[in-house]
Subunit: 215 residues, 2 copies
Amino acid sequence: MAVIKRMPRYYRHLAELLRNDVDRISSKELSGKIGFTASQIRQDFNNFGGFGQQGYGYNVRELFNETGKILGLDKSYKTVIVGAGNIGQAIANYTRFDKFGFDLQAIFDANPKLIGLKIRDVEIRDIDTLDAFMEENAVDIGIICVPTTVAQATVDRLVKSGVKGIWNFAPMDITVPKDVAMESVHLSDSLLTLVYLMNDKAKEREKKEKKSTSK
Amino acid sequence: MAVIKRMPRYYRHLAELLRNDVDRISSKELSGKIGFTASQIRQDFNNFGGFGQQGYGYNVRELFNETGKILGLDKSYKTVIVGAGNIGQAIANYTRFDKFGFDLQAIFDANPKLIGLKIRDVEIRDIDTLDAFMEENAVDIGIICVPTTVAQATVDRLVKSGVKGIWNFAPMDITVPKDVAMESVHLSDSLLTLVYLMNDKAKEREKKEKKSTSK
């Protein structure tokens, strides 16, 4: 697992330790929780600036703050959601992201029934006003919750207006320029992976049962 | 990328080709769309049973059906959602999954304001009735949309009742027995990864700008 995938996991586990009032933790204890080896953890934290003290463990608060800084959570990020369907609404309602410093500026949709409604004080605006809004507001991240057919075009509009991060929920592969970051959450890929795994395990069970009955 | 991660992508891209009335496609054309090498694609499809005909390309419909079978989509799966908050409701409303053969049986929540409501004809039931429901209904997949604090306990209940697949949206690491399949969608990990990537690209830009001004 690459460091970029380990970082959010460190952050999440350290946050949980703080919630449980754990002040200090050893690399071995953390390894038991997070699943990385203790030596990987020591190496990572050493690279972050070395917070451990031999035989004393890590200061959870310090490590949490430093991990947050490395992830870029010492800044705040202005976001817009495009597409106020099921997923768009769920993301807009997800208060967890506020705490990280994500600041939802506006939601856009093409559906006249949705335009003008508010989700947690953030207005759903007409998609036709997107470009004008983006011109007037410095938005960092665009969250793409539109149908597949318009996803790439929507991303292109956001990128053109200066957005530097795309969080894509459309079930398709989007392309962005090199200097724009993108992360996709492909829900159906994940569900299909689960089914594949389930069937794989069912086959294994069948094999085992055959073996034990043929004995 | 492992075959298990490639399969859902094949399925998704083949579905899109069918929607666009594409009957045949070469490994080279598909490579351009999906991003795997043409030789990887030929090797995979050969393993699936060899649908290609030299110089003629693949039959998209055949390949789509076969990929679906390999993924296990020739069967249907009974699912329950536990947790009818934002994410639970969004998943319940997501009609896309019906088409794959996922059959939502019930939604459970502890909130009295939600219990008794329906999402697309599926009732939100009292979480206290979960075990009884599971005993009477053969459920294949449990979709976990409950808060972190009760996620593992909820999974344990479902596994005990015979569920063989867990689709986890709780932002924590869940453990399941070996013969149970699990896939997690960690939304906040994905968002934090995006921010990390954005900051990485910003640093690269700054470096380049410094270089060009120092010339």
